[in-house]
Symmetry: C3
Subunit: 359 residues, 3 copies
């Protein structure tokens, strides 16, 4: 079941550069997205109303698109403006368009009731590229993971699985605070607080003088930022995680050598989106942005994120294979104490889905 | 929806040479086709009535076929003539056969009401191999394109798409005459005439002194026939296209240097068949025959035809992916002026299908 | 249709050595099988009751298994014994287990009514590894053949197909005795006797002074056992074949040079199991055990068995492709005299299936 009235990441900016037309299935519909000559972003059903050829096989012409098959041209509004060899354009010749915007370094599409598109509150603020050149990073995505977006959601903001699935990166003791999270907005040392909003869940943790019992990744960040091979001294660690319905999760991590209280913190944002493709598959978009190093390190960070996600992938696809077309919650699964926030997220999603179905 | 009462190309002659047994699915049925020792052509359901092993895995024995599994032998009439190790043959042991003939350089099968097979009018005359050694050429086919045969039909005799899909071969100005075709049987300069028959559509065009605005392929033909690298002088061009229901299209092209009115024309026949495999897939057979050059050039022509069809393939398969299991016309598509003949073809096909359903 | 109340081969011992966890679908269910630290064998549904991740992605811990995703641990009885980070274990947290035993060199699972598992009569005695080091051999299996287990059964103990499918190995005149088998328990020269039991069929044959008209494999056995390139003298041949419902077939072959009545016979056991995976696919397990040569020859024997089965595979998968989801007997096939024992096997299977459905 999909939430239609929300903004979804549909492409990375590079994918629509140079006349590129992105073909992607979202929420079960094939859409094409491109950037017109004037810079306008256009999203439309990926088929020509003439003979149903995919428009994504075509060519961007000005702000419009020309079908690869018979050359029919459509404006950015989806209305056919030219049929080669005839003067009149059939009045019904138009293709459905979708609102598309560029925000925070991504291309977003609205596939629900067009009236709702003006409300951009479902585009999470956390998904930005700072104008500040001190913040750098890269993009990555994986097409068509055979896993429902909700299973990927669950995975992303349930950090306790890191202990078992990602021990060599961020599976240290600090992820275990998640299980005993309590309401609040402060950074509590050796603990975790959470806030549940209408469409989001936030949680924060802090660990002073975190040593080798912490996730190896945090010490690597210090080492990378200083150009040294490793860093084994204690660090002060803080992490803020935000999940926004329906599919966005951001990790903000800040690390500082514990013995250098005046040092600038080494920071990273990891941004994730589990974009629904079909009822049983998803696209996975991710970014890794940091306040240190230089762009030559971007590829390493994207590779690392890709590596971590490929540790999750067999689990996510295995879950879906077991589920078939059922939703997890319809199987009456056992839940653990550590699932509390995950279930809150499912609850928020369920409420939004129910409200949309009703309307 | 398939038209059963028609002759379909099922194989190239080489495929049944030397005891070869062709296994192919046509109109949703698996058939096996072979040539017996006496030269007789045999087509039958591709399964043994004993344990349902594919007969195409077996061996041609005389005019019959022996099952690979237990050695049962069937005559050219499908009747079992031998069961190894037993004297009596079970009376029910027979396999359904289909009329098969060789005509015009292809092997054809009739899968409809056997009573109708005697009528070979659905084997188009245009699909020939001349006995005249001056006409040479080769064969090619592509198995199982994920596209309904009607979409391929539409593609084949709607030449206007060449302007957009095949500009570097035959997408010159002359294909645009198609859009303004008018009834008639003459070759009209800079125009096109068409004739609509009960089961066929023919159209013809002529272009005197066609220069660089014409399809590059026509000038290549002259260059090839004279063994020169290129030909950039104007040519007199004529083309006759015939579509025969349900699936055959022939292009006859004749080119002559415009300044050499007495030169022998350089001619080519391109023959295409969109053979239905399933409701959403087809086999594509094609030939390219010409009156110039030598057999060493055959492979080049087949490669060129293959290249052109692979330009169409993503469009055809894209259309089918959009359609799913629907027929194009059930989606209420927009039609253009240039679709007139294509729609006439669909109309002919629809009438034949309706008549067959009724009977 | 599956017979649930029977023991099925689920794995080779090597697959569960060193903490290996086997993931395999049997009778349409995904199961995981492993050996615990104490040596106990465990079989369970291949999903964690928490979030449905495949347990086969996890780790063996003592006699239990730890889920790869969130670290929940389950004992050999399937009861959850530990949830990381919380003291209490949810009472419902358990996974269904299946009886698993090791017998005769294989790991077997019981997926039916647990009450019936104590009865091991469906584990055929013939599937053994002798403690006698004189008997040596190897293992092989092919995952997921797209063929129903009953088609593979039919194939395995219908030896007449060897004449056509395996002429270069065991397709000699002696397989033809099968067609004229008559009741009895003796080894009859140039003939075959059979016994039909409640859940098994046995048949035996003998051929004195079998020469070049016999299967080439028998003479190869003598050559191999004596380390010579070939053996072309007559041999005394005997073969006993046993099929046990639902899926096991054993071939016991004994060969001796006809002119050396006091020589020790050269013997081989070929063991086959057609383990149901889904309604249209199977796993195929096989062994080849012999009383001659040394272990360095094992790979050759397994390769040979694999070669022979790959001669059958296109036929078996071809039959299934023709059948779709139908059972062979529902298609009203023609049967030959040589199908008598095969049909008796189908009858036994049908009776067992009906009895199980009724209960």
């Amino acid at each position: 079941m999909f939430l239609f009235n929300a903004w979804y990441i549909v492409a990375e900016p590079d994918e629509v550069a140079g006349g590129g037309i992105v073909a992607r299935t979202l929420l079960g519909r094939r859409v094409a997205v491109y950037r017109g000559a004037s810079g306008v972003l256009v999203g439309l059903d990926d088929f020509c109303p003439h003979r149903l050829a995919p428009l994504s096989l075509g060519t961007v012409v000005g702000d419009g698109i020309r079908c690869a098959y018979h050359g029919a041209e459509f404006g950015a509004d989806g209305i056919c403006v030219r049929v080669p060899g005839q003067k009149a354009v059939p009045p019904r010749a138009r293709v459905r368009t979708y609102p598309v915007v560029e925000r925070h370094g991504y291309i977003w599409i609205w596939m629900g009731d067009p009236a709702g598109a003006a409300d951009e509150s479902s585009i999470p603020e956390g998904f930005w590229v700072s104008g500040d050149p001190a913040w750098i990073g890269g993009y990555g995505h994986i097409e068509s993971i055979r896993s429902d977006y909700r299973l990927i959601n669950d995975n992303l903001f349930d950090i306790t699985h890191a202990e078992f699935v990602h021990p060599e990166s961020f599976g240290g003791v600090e992820v275990q605070y998640y299980r005993n999270a309590r309401p609040g907005a402060q950074f509590v040392d050796q603990g975790m607080t959470f806030e549940i909003g209408d469409r989001s869940i936030r949680f924060r943790t802090h660990a002073a003088r975190l040593g080798l019992e912490g996730g190896p990744l945090w010490r690597s960040m210090v080492a990378q930022s200083r150009g040294v091979a490793e860093w084994n001294e204690p660090v002060d660690f803080r992490m803020e995680v935000i999940w926004w319905a329906p599919i966005y999760t951001s990790f903000h991590i800040s690390v500082r050598p514990a013995d250098e209280p005046d040092a600038a913190p080494v920071e990273i944002y990891n941004l994730h989106a589990a974009v629904p493709e079909s009822e049983t598959s998803s696209h996975y978009f991710y970014r890794s942005i940091r306040n240190y190093g230089d762009p030559s390190m971007d590829a390493m960070f994207i590779d690392a994120a890709n590596f971590v996600f490929h540790q999750d992938k067999p689990i996510l696809e295995g879950q879906q294979a077991v589920l078939g077309t059922r939703d997890l919650l319809d199987t009456d699964p056992i839940s653990f104490a550590g699932d509390r926030l995950q279930l809150e997220g499912r609850r928020i999603l369920g409420r939004l889905l129910a409200a949309e179905q009703e309307a």
